[in-house]
């Protein structure tokens, strides 16, 4: 190996990155050539200078934050049973928007389920975070002029997380998020479209009122309408819990705005 050949290999030589046979040849050259030996020394010195740089550690708060976010992400991931289905649902939604005439009758419920799945995957599903039902109601009124009823399910262990503005059937919709343990429950309130709400599902009567129940992608949904607003509950919680929440909401709503 001559000086020119060695110089081309100077950096991998110093970094110990040459192949065995090349390393031996380079070694042989360095032993003989004082000039190249000096180059090697210089490069090594420079490398040491860089290695002497202080090695900062990640701040403990950052570490804690990342661990918390990772855990949260894991919990949310566990709430979506069929991940592949989300993409399919999104594709369906797109087609539906472009071709409204082909809208399947239960599109609103599918839409709500897709939204629930989507929100369950994001870090902060609620735009406005509060455990106070009145505060969440005020937020909807001020933010979007929506008269939203937010029920308090805390006696049943269902905690209010907050609210978010969503869009369903091209209309502004209120989305109220609850959590029971690690299971999310979404309550959607969507204004009834001019052509009427097209809801389908199994008709269920609960405490004297009719609801439509439908299972979509492993989620249970309960829906009803009062003529002006469509209400939809989406969760992996059982139907009984959902119907009880629906009934509570209906009562709260009647109390607030009249039956």
């Amino acid at each position: 190996m001559n000086c020119i050949e060695f110089e081309a290999r100077l950096h991998p030589y110093v970094d110990g990155e040459l192949e065995m046979n090349e390393m031996a040849a380079a070694e042989g050259h360095v032993v003989q050539c004082a000039e190249c030996r000096a180059r090697v020394e210089r490069e090594r010195g420079f490398r040491q200078l860089l290695r002497r740089q202080p090695r900062e550690s990640a701040p403990p708060e950052l570490r804690a934050m990342i661990r918390a976010r990772v855990r949260r992400s894991a919990r949310l991931a566990a709430m979506r049973p069929v991940l592949v289905g989300t993409t399919a649902a999104a594709a369906l939604l797109l087609v539906v928007t472009v071709l409204p005439s082909l809208r399947p009758t239960s599109s609103l419920v599918s839409d709500l389920v897709s939204k629930h799945v989507t929100y369950a995957q994001i870090e902060q599903p609620a735009e406005f975070v509060s455990q106070d039902p009145r505060a969440v109601e005020t937020w909807f009124r001020q933010r979007a002029d929506l008269r939203v009823t937010v029920s308090d399910y805390s006696p049943s262990g269902i905690r209010l997380v907050g609210g978010r503005l969503a869009e369903a059937e091209e209309r502004k919709a209120a989305y109220v998020l609850y959590e029971k343990g690690h299971t999310l429950m979404s309550v959607f309130m969507v204004p009834v479209p001019a052509r009427g709400a097209d809801l389908s599902g199994t008709r269920v009567s609960y405490r004297g009122h009719d609801y439509l129940t439908l299972e979509r992608k492993g989620y249970n949904t309960v829906a009803w309408t009062d003529g002006k607003t469509v209400f939809g509950l989406v969760s992996m919680l059982g139907y009984e819990a959902l119907l009880e929440c629906a009934d509570r909401l209906r009562l709260d709503r009647a109390e607030r705005f009249g039956a």
Binding site: D15, R39, R42, Q53, S57, P59, L62, V70, A78
Partner: protein, 192 residues
Amino acid sequence: MPRWAWPGDRTREFEETALVHLDTLYRSALRLTHNRAEAEDLVQEACLRAFRGFHRFNPGTNCRAWLLTILKNAFLKRLKQGAHELLDSDPGDQQRGAISITDAGRTRGHPEEELLQTVLHGDVDRALKTLPLAHREVIVLADLEGFSYKEIAQIVDCPIGTVMSRLSRGRAQLRQLLGGLAREHGYVKESE
């Protein structure tokens, strides 16, 4: 529900395999962004992306390089959105900054070693900052974090030969810049 059992295991595995490299991620992010808040943000994003893609990580392979690849991609994505830094895929022989780049090693009669002894800790970061991204990242990975050429090639997504040439050019530039800073501090006289 029994299925709630698995996220905990997965989280623990991620913490033990990936989050142990958080310091490397943080330091590299700092040197890519030069901004603490942005670096923290970038590391968080990279960690969450890594966690979501953890099922794609092949256990037993190099997790540190895998994480750095994710960090690098997240950084590039931000650059494209913000475009606040010159993004050179390969800066070639272009000269950048106020100091012209020559092969410092060939400058005869220049007591360069002595000059570099006077380099202050903050200087390396200051000098790195002015290097083109393509050169800066290979130096950070090789010299400050101790990655192998093969790992660097994976992280920056280029052939090993390119890693070598970038390292060689980048180190020459960095050496020159540090020399300039040492002179600026007045430790070495201009006339030397």
